[in-house]
Amino acid sequence: MKNTIGREIPEDIIWYDEVINYSAPFSKEPVGRKIAPLLKQVKPNESKVVSSLEELIKKVGLKDGMTISFHHHFRNGDYILNNVIDTIAKMGLKDITIVPSSLSTIHESLVEHIKNGVITGIHTSGIRGRLAEEISNGLMEKPIVIRSHGGRARAIEAGEIKIDVAFLGAPSCDPYGNSRGKGENTICGSLGYSKVDAAYADQVVIITDDLVPYPNCPASISQTNVDYVIKVDAIGNPSGIASGATRFTKNPKELLIAQYASKLIVNSPYFKDGFSFQTGSGGSSLAVTRFLKEEMKDKNIKARFALGGITKPMVEMHEEGFIEQLFDVQSFDLVACESIIKNPNHHEIDASFYANPHNKGCIANQLDVVILSALEIDTNFHVNVITGSDGIIRGASGGHSDTAAASKLSIIVAPLIRGRIPTVVDQVNTIITPGETVDVLVTDRGIAINPRRKDLLEIFKNTDLPIFTIEELKEKAEKVVGKGRPIEYLERVVGIVEYRDGSIIDVIKQVK
């Protein structure tokens, strides 16, 4: 059955009692109450510390068919997920659903555990590498579910994802469960995604390699939410968790895109004292931050806050007084990790505060400008950040659709052509972010404003910026590299793309 943006959605999907098709960004209103965590008694002399993973898994009573969660703050340096799943497999458990906040290439050993029937369900924001390829080729019986960061927080609070046990890695933790993003061996900064799991899972386990004396405060995860604590040799590879510093791009294409984007922001009605913005960690996106800073210096404008995955350039702007406050759900580099600990106005926020559409107002709603990337964008401004031009899963939903819908000005930055493949196409392979929430596309060969934004079209009518229609940009790309051949898919659905409100916006099919 088709949804309002023309995507064919199956009538029955195993994970849903009632499949609700996507219809519009804010058309699905919630009803009811949040789910509540379990009551529990911990007596004065009881210890939460457990000595081995096997003992821990027995203690939490993990059984076949249960759902467990993880966070992705350790990115590609994460040891926790693999270690826990290896142990579960050794203990003979089967049919486990995992709901990590995201997955990286380091998690490719999951392929074997899926083949052996240990893992039968995956809900995540992103998925990459061999695991993603195998899933695109039909590895799993049940389709994976892709959610945005805000959508995941919403689904957990609404009880749509019921977490039996949350296995949360923490760089440091005391014997009572108070956990922080910095420890003796590793540092990850914000623990924003895991805060939601800690608050709503039936049981919460902290895995650390730095067990410190009580109390380890101020804590990201509080003792009142933690059932057990375990010390292991290593929770992750520090160099995979956070790179030294996010570097500026030297790629001329990316610099040109950044220049256009920052010019666009500066000439928009949103660029004024007290504005707010979010930029990602991609090359052009980071460069926008640098160009913006120069403009802010010139015009004596300060930002009230910056949001998102926080990077070194943002921290510098904060420390130099250009950004009053930083709101950080995920610290992208070491500079950001250190900053969140030392700078009092660099705040750690959870994923619900960040972007959940069904709490009493997320911070994304207060955002003026967001810069986002795209693998593909089509002439309806629908954006794909999950499947490559070959139809294979290789990305993440992240906060893309959340911030696009919630912000006042959403700007997509992307090169017009990548390799020999056009970025602007007739129809994207997979829709993560609906076109009605995207305002502007900035490429190295020109800018396209969404015709829905008549106000912006009017403002930029007479500027020196190279403004085109999106069809014109598409034709420009096709002139250089020709039209792409459509991908051949099989009928079988391997992935479900849930919009932030829980409706189904698209599906990913098995590649031929």
């Binding site: 059955m1 088709k2 949804n3 309002t4 959605i9 009538e11 009692d17 009632e18 609700i20 098709n21 219809s23 058309s27 699905k28 209103e29 919630p30 009803v31 009811g32 409706s503």
Partner: protein, 181 residues
């Protein structure tokens, strides 16, 4: 009461619904079924109402499947003015209206469902055109329009009836499901 506060929103939703239905029919040139609930008063959304709505939707799907009718498009609005579904089906409007009326008349919650069928030209199909009587009131045996015009029953009376009927219905359904297993 907040009766008048919501009236404008409800009227606006009604207007929006009508134009949207016309637009869908124009786009697909096929029969449209719209489902909403008959809930009197200003409060038209809540957990129980959503459960009733989903049940109506489920019954519609089952009936369409049984008749081997394909659904081409589906959209659901979950709004404070009440949930609504818009479904484009690949069959003629009279047949569809008969299926919907059958649900309205046989299911325990039938009087709460409100199925609206439009043909490919955008004309609403009335119950009379398939040889059925007009709909009766929840509480008595008079026609709906008679009771609503004379305000024969209070809103509270009707809401209490809906709540009681629905709760009893779902409890019974669950019991039957358990028996089945």
């Amino acid at each position: 009461m907040n009766e008048n506060k919501n009236i404008e929103t409800i009227l606006r939703a009604r207007e929006k619904r009508y134009f949207y239905q016309k637009q869908l029919v124009k786009e697909y040139k096929k029969t449209l079924v719209a489902l909403k609930l008959n809930i009197p008063g200003p409060k038209k959304d809540g957990e129980l109402y959503r459960e009733i709505f989903n049940n109506g939707l489920k019954l519609l799907k089952v009936s369409l499947n049984k008749a081997k009718i394909k659904m081409i498009f589906k959209e659901i609005w979950n709004k404070s003015t009440g949930s609504e579904a818009f479904i484009i089906v690949d069959t003629d409007a009279i047949k569809t209206k008969k299926i919907c009326t059958e649900i309205e008349e046989t299911d325990g919650l039938g009087r709460i469902y409100d199925f609206d069928v439009m043909d490919a030209l955008g004309n609403s199909i009335s119950r009379e055109s398939i040889g059925k009587e007009q709909r009766k009131c929840f509480l008595c045996d008079k026609y709906v329009w008679v009771c609503s015009r004379t305000r024969a029953h209070s809103i509270d009376e009707m809401l209490t009836f809906i709540e009681k009927t629905a709760k009893a219905y779902f409890i019974k359904n669950k019991r039957e499901e358990i028996k089945w297993q």
